[in-house]
C-alpha cells in the first residue's frame, strides 16, 4: 500500500483552541495599562496583578463588551449568565497562584465559523468561548541559574475560543485559524496581531480508522497560520506512523519547533495538574440584559462575510476578495467606494491590493488617503484623462502627499491629450515620419498600427489617449 493509501484509511479530527487578546485599555481585573508592547518589564503592574494580600479583582466591563462582540462574530449571542472561576497552579508568572477564568458557565456557548477549502464551504462548530486573565511571561536565560518574570502581561484579558473537532485536514485548520483572525479583527475585538502574540492557537489532533475519535495530542502556543498548518501535517503523519507500527498514541501536550517543523513532547496526561476549579468568591456572576446585548448588536461593524457579499456584488470574488479582506483598512475603503459606483470600487481595489504575504506582519498597513480622492482619481481614468500607468503614478504620489489627484496629474503633466485638434497634428507628423509603417497599415498589416500608436505616445510624452490615437491614425490613413 502506498503512503497515501494508508493515510486515506484514517479520519483526521482537529479541534482548535484560540486565545484572543482583547483590545481593552486596562487589564481584565485591574486598572493597569494593558498595552505591554513598548513597556519595560514589570512597569504595568498594580497590587491586583502582583497578587498582594487583600487585593481584589474588579471586572473590566469593556472586556465583557468585546466578548459580546466576539459572540456576534461567531454567529451567536453571549450568555445572559456567566461566572468566573479560579484555576489553581503554582508558577512564578501566576502571582495569585490561580488564574481567573470561566469554567462551567462561559460567556459564549455555541456558534460557528464557515470556511472555504478547495472551493467547498465547511461549517466549523464553536463549543464555547470564555474570558480569562493571561499569566505573566517567564524567560529562562540560557546558561543562567535564574528565571525572569515579567508581569506586564499578567491580567491581560483573553477570550479563549474553543472549536469542535470539526476540521479534518491541515488546510481546514489553517483556513479556520485565518477566518477566526479575520473575524476578530473586523469585529474590533482584538488587534489580532500575531506578531505580538495577540492570537495564539492550541491545536488538538487525533486520527482514527473508526467513527470513534482517536487519542489526541495538543500542540500548544502556535502563533502563525503556517505553524498551525505544518504542526497538523506533522502530527497526523506522526500519529499514523505510530499506529501503523502498532504503538499507542500518548495523550499529551506537545510543543512546536518552528525551525525543524516538528512537534515535541512536553507533558503527558499523567503529570497534568488537578486545577481544583472553584467559583471565584471575589467576583459576582456576569448577568447581561437583553437590551445591552441588542445595543452591542446594533453597533457591530461589518464582518468579513458582509464584505464578501458586497465585493461579490461588484464582481470581486475568490482570491481577489480575500486579498482585499486581508488588509482591513483597504477593505473598508473599497466598501465605501462601492457607493460611488462599482467601476470605481473595483479600480480602487486593484490599486490598493497588497502583495499577500503568508503571515500578517508586525505592523498594520497604513493607507492614509480619502476615499473621495481615490474616486476622483478613478473618475479621471474613466474619463480617459489619465492612462492607467499614469494613474498609478498619481496614486503613489497621492498616498504620500495626500494632494488632489487632479493637481498631481497636472503638475506631473500626465493629463492625457484627448483634444482631437492637438492630437491630429501629432498623428500627421508621426505618419509623415514613419511613411513605411503607414504604408504597411494601409496595405492591411494591422500589426504596424501598434507601432504607430507607440510613436504617437512617445511624441506626446505619454499623454496621448491611445484609443483616440488609433482612431485618428485610421482616419488619416483613410481605413
Amino acid at each position: 500500500m502506498s503512503n497515501e493509501d494508508i493515510r486515506n484509511q484514517y479520519t483526521v479530527a482537529i479541534g482548535i483552541e484560540c486565545h484572543v487578546q482583547l483590545k481593552t485599555k486596562t487589564k481584565l481585573f485591574s486598572g493597569a495599562n494593558n498595552d505591554a508592547r513598548a513597556a519595560a518589564p514589570n512597569t504595568l503592574v498594580n497590587h491586583i496583578d502582583f497578587g498582594l494580600p487583600g487585593a481584589l479583582p474588579v471586572l473590566n466591563e469593556k472586556a465583557v463588551e468585546l466578548a459580546t462582540k466576539a459572540a456576534f462574530a461567531l454567529d451567536t449571542k453571549p450568555q445572559l449568565f456567566s461566572k468566573f472561576d479560579r484555576k489553581h497552579y503554582f508558577y512564578p508568572d501566576l502571582p495569585m497562584g490561580y488564574q481567573i477564568t470561566q469554567f462551567d458557565e462561559p460567556i459564549v456557548l455555541g456558534g460557528h465559523v464557515d470556511i472555504i477549502v478547495d472551493g467547498e464551504k465547511r461549517r466549523i462548530g464553536i463549543t464555547r468561548a470564555h474570558l480569562e486573565a493571561d499569566a505573566g511571561k517567564s524567560t529562562h536565560p540560557v546558561g543562567s541559574d535564574y528565571s525572569l518574570v515579567d508581569l506586564n502581561r499578567a491580567g491581560t484579558p483573553l477570550l479563549e475560543i474553543v472549536s469542535e473537532p470539526d476540521m479534518h485536514s491541515s488546510a481546514e485548520a489553517k483556513a479556520y485559524a485565518h477566518e477566526l483572525y479575520l473575524r476578530m479583527r473586523y469585529a474590533d475585538v482584538s488587534d489580532a496581531n500575531l506578531y505580538y502574540g495577540n492570537m495564539r492557537f492550541d491545536v488538538n489532533v487525533s486520527v482514527s480508522k473508526t467513527d470513534e475519535l482517536g487519542t489526541r495530542t495538543e500542540t500548544k502556543n502556535l502563533n502563525s497560520f503556517k505553524s498551525v498548518e505544518k504542526s497538523v501535517e506533522y502530527e497526523v503523519a506522526r500519529q499514523i506512523e505510530l499506529l501503523e507500527k502498532g504503538q499507542p498514541i500518548i495523550q499529551e501536550t506537545r510543543g512546536w519547533d518552528d525551525a525543524k517543523l516538528k512537534t515535541f513532547s512536553q507533558r503527558s496526561k499523567e503529570d497534568a495538574h488537578d486545577y481544583r476549579y472553584m467559583p471565584d468568591p471575589d467576583l459576582p456572576p456576569v448577568t447581561l440584559e437583553e437590551s445591552y446585548i441588542r445595543e452591542i448588536e446594533k453597533s457591530m461593524p461589518d464582518l468579513p462575510d458582509d464584505y464578501r457579499k458586497a465585493f461579490d456584488g461588484i464582481g470581486l470574488t475568490g482570491a481577489v476578495s480575500e486579498d482585499i479582506l486581508a488588509t482591513p483598512v483597504i477593505a473598508k475603503m473599497v466598501m465605501r467606494a462601492i457607493s460611488f459606483g462599482a467601476e470605481h470600487a473595483k479600480r480602487i481595489a486593484f490599486w490598493l491590493m497588497q502583495p499577500q504575504s503568508e503571515e500578517p506582519e508586525g505592523e498594520d498597513v497604513v493607507v492614509d488617503v480619502d476615499v473621495e480622492k481615490l474616486v476622483a482619481l478613478s473618475e479621471m481614468v474613466g474619463e480617459n484623462k489619465l492612462s492607467s500607468t499614469a494613474a498609478k503614478e498619481v496614486l503613489s504620489d497621492m498616498l504620500k502627499s495626500g494632494e488632489d489627484p487632479e493637481k498631481i496629474a497636472e503638475s506631473k503633466n500626465l493629463i492625457q491629450v484627448s483634444d482631437e485638434g492637438a492630437m491630429a497634428e501629432i498623428v500627421t507628423q508621426v505618419l509623415a515620419d514613419n511613411a513605411k509603417a503607414a504604408e504597411d497599415v494601409k496595405n492591411g498589416e494591422m500589426k504596424a498600427i501598434g507601432f504607430l500608436v507607440g510613436q504617437v505616445m512617445k511624441a506626446s510624452q505619454g499623454k496621448a489617449n491611445p484609443a483616440l490615437a488609433t482612431q485618428l491614425i485610421k482616419k488619416q490613413l483613410g481605413i
Binding site: 498582594l52 487583600g54 487585593a55 502571582p95 495569585m96 497562584g97 472553584m278 468568591p281 467576583l283
Partner: protein
C-alpha cells in the same frame, strides 16, 4: 465604665478643641505599654499615629471640623493593610511585609479623623477561635490571664476590654469578631456580607469574610459601621449602604418578634450560660418584645459546611504566599518546587497547613461533588431557613458561644473541639446575615455573650434593637 468616653463625645471634644488628638494618642500608647503582658498587640504605630495626631490638632486649631472620629485612636487586627505598617496576619510567611497600599476600611476611618495606633494579634490568617494559632504568641484574656480571649480577633477584643482604645477592628469569617467579644465582654458586630469593603484585608474565606468593629457599646459600634459601610469600587462584592444610615434611633421594642433558636439552646450549651441567656430573654419579654422558640433544623450542619467551604477558599487564597515576590522566602532551595515547598513549610503554621490540606482535598477532582458542591447545597438550605424564619421574626436570638472562655491550651491538641466553639456563629456567615454579640452577664466571673441576628441588610434595625437590649441588660 471605660476610661474612654463614647466615640462621638471624644470626637466632639477634639473638634471643639477641648481635647487634643495628641493626648489621646499618648493615652492609648501608654495603655498599650501598661498592658503589654496581655500580648494583645503585634506592633504599635507610634510615629505615624503621633504625626497624624499633630496634623489633626493643627487642623482643629484653624477652626476646621476634622470629622466624626476626630482624634479617636483605634487598633486594627493585623490582617488589615495599613500604610507604612507591617501587616503579618500573625503569620511567619508575611513577617516583614510592609503594606504598599491601604484597606478601604482604614481609609474611611482615617478620612473621619481616626488614628490607627497599633495592630492587634490574631490566629494566623484568622484561622482559629483563641489566638493560640498566632505564629507569634497567644493573647491573654483580660478577665482571666489563664484563659484565651477567643479568636480570631482576640487581640482586638482584648484591646477594647483592656481600654487601650475606644474601638478596634476585627474580621469575622465564622465568628471571629463575636466569639472574642463574648469571651472578653465587649460588643462585637458582624455586618451583612458585603456591607464593609474587604479591599486591603488579608483574605481568609472570601465568600464569608466580614469586616466589623469591636467596641464598648452598641452606640460606638453603630458609629464605626456608619463610617465604614457602603459600596467600594475596589470590592465587587460590596453592597449599597442603608439610605437611612446606621445612627441609632430611639425605637420601641414592644411588639418586636424575636425567635429563640432552638438548636442553640439545647445540647452542648453550658447550663450556666443558658441561664444568663434565659435571663436576657426574660428582660426582653418584660420590655414587651414577643419571644418564642423557633427551629432552624439545618443549623447544626452549619459547622460541617463551614469547615468544607472555608478551607477550600483558604487553600485558594493562601496560594499567593509563595515567597517569590514578598514575605518569607526560605533560602537554599535547589529549584522552584523546592523553593515553594521550603517557603510554605516554614512560613505556614500547623492550622494554615491543616486548612490548606482540607481545602485542597475537597476541591480535588473526584471529591469536589461529594464535599464542596454538597456543602454549597447545604449552605443554600441554611440561607433558606434563615430567610423563612425572618418572615415570621424581626430578629433571632441565641448565645454567642456554648461556653465561656476556655483555658489556654485546653483545645490545642483537639482541632475538632476547637472548631466547636464556632458552632453558634458560623451560620450567620454562611447566610451573610448581620449578627451582634452583646455582653450578657457573667458565669463564674467570666463574660457571656448574647447573640442577636437579623435578615440581610437589616443592619440598622439590628443595631437599634441591640442598643435597647444593651440598655435592658446593663441599664
Amino acid at each position: 465604665m471605660s476610661s474612654w468616653q463614647s466615640i462621638s463625645t471624644i470626637a466632639a471634644k477634639v473638634n471643639a478643641g477641648q481635647a487634643k488628638a495628641t493626648e489621646l494618642v499618648e493615652q492609648a500608647l501608654a495603655a498599650i505599654a501598661k498592658h503589654e503582658e496581655f500580648k494583645a498587640i503585634i506592633v504599635t504605630l507610634d510615629a505615624a499615629a503621633r504625626e497624624r495626631a499633630v496634623k489633626i490638632d493643627a487642623r482643629v486649631a484653624t477652626g476646621e471640623q476634622v470629622g466624626r472620629l476626630a482624634g479617636v485612636p483605634f487598633i486594627a487586627k493585623d490582617n488589615f493593610l495599613v500604610f507604612g505598617a507591617e501587616t503579618t496576619a500573625a503569620s511567619n510567611i508575611l513577617r516583614g511585609f510592609n503594606a504598599p497600599y491601604q484597606s478601604t476600611a482604614i481609609e474611611k476611618l482615617e478620612a473621619e479623623g481616626a488614628i490607627c495606633v497599633a495592630k492587634a494579634n490574631l490566629d494566623a490568617f484568622a484561622h482559629g477561635s483563641s489566638t493560640e494559632n498566632s505564629d507569634f504568641f497567644t493573647t491573654l484574656n483580660p478577665r482571666d490571664k489563664t484563659r484565651v480571649p477567643g479568636g480570631s480577633s482576640g487581640g482586638s477584643a482584648a484591646s477594647v476590654v483592656l481600654e487601650l482604645v475606644p474601638f478596634a477592628l476585627g474580621t469575622d469569617t465564622g465568628g471571629s469578631i463575636r466569639l472574642p467579644a463574648s469571651f472578653t465582654g465587649c460588643v462585637g458586630y458582624k455586618p451583612t456580607y458585603g456591607l464593609v469593603s474587604r479591599s486591603g484585608v488579608v483574605a481568609m474565606g472570601s465568600s464569608l469574610d466580614c469586616v466589623g468593629p469591636l467596641a464598648n457599646s452598641v452606640e460606638d459600634t453603630a458609629l464605626v459601621l456608619e463610617i465604614m459601610a457602603g459600596k467600594d469600587s475596589r470590592d465587587s462584592t460590596t453592597i449599597e449602604r442603608d439610605p437611612k444610615g446606621y445612627d441609632l434611633e430611639n425605637i420601641d421594642i414592644s411588639g418586636k418578634k424575636v425567635g429563640i433558636i432552638t438548636e442553640y439552646m439545647g445540647e452542648g450549651l453550658d447550663p450556666k450560660v443558658a441561664e444568663r441567656i434565659r435571663a436576657a430573654i426574660e428582660s426582653l419579654r418584660q420590655a414587651g418584645a414577643e419571644l418564642e422558640e423557633v427551629s432552624l433544623p439545618s443549623l447544626p450542619l452549619g459547622l460541617a459546611v463551614y469547615y468544607v467551604l472555608t478551607p477550600a477558599e483558604v487553600s485558594s487564597n493562601l496560594s499567593r504566599y509563595d515567597g517569590q515576590r514578598y514575605g518569607h522566602n526560605t533560602p537554599g532551595a535547589t529549584d522552584l518546587h523546592d523553593s515553594y515547598t521550603k517557603t510554605r513549610e516554614l512560613g505556614f503554621g500547623a492550622e494554615a497547613k491543616r486548612r490548606i490540606m482540607i481545602g485542597t482535598y475537597v476541591l480535588s477532582s473526584g471529591y469536589y461533588d461529594a464535599y464542596y458542591k454538597k456543602a454549597q447545597t447545604v449552605r443554600t438550605k441554611v440561607i433558606n431557613e434563615f430567610e423563612a424564619a425572618f418572615k415570621s421574626y424581626d430578629f433571632l436570638l441565641g448565645p454567642t458561644a456554648p461556653m465561656p472562655a476556655f483555658k489556654i491550651g485546653a483545645n490545642t491538641d483537639d482541632p475538632l473541639q476547637m472548631y466547636l466553639s464556632d458552632i453558634m456563629t458560623v451560620s450567620a456567615n454562611l447566610a451573610g446575615i448581620p449578627a451582634i454579640s452583646l455582653p450578657c452577664g457573667e458565669v463564674d466571673g467570666l463574660p457571656v455573650g448574647l447573640q442577636l441576628f437579623a435578615a440581610q441588610k437589616k443592619d440598622r434595625q439590628l443595631l437599634n434593637f441591640a442598643a435597647k437590649t444593651e440598655e435592658l441588660l446593663h441599664g
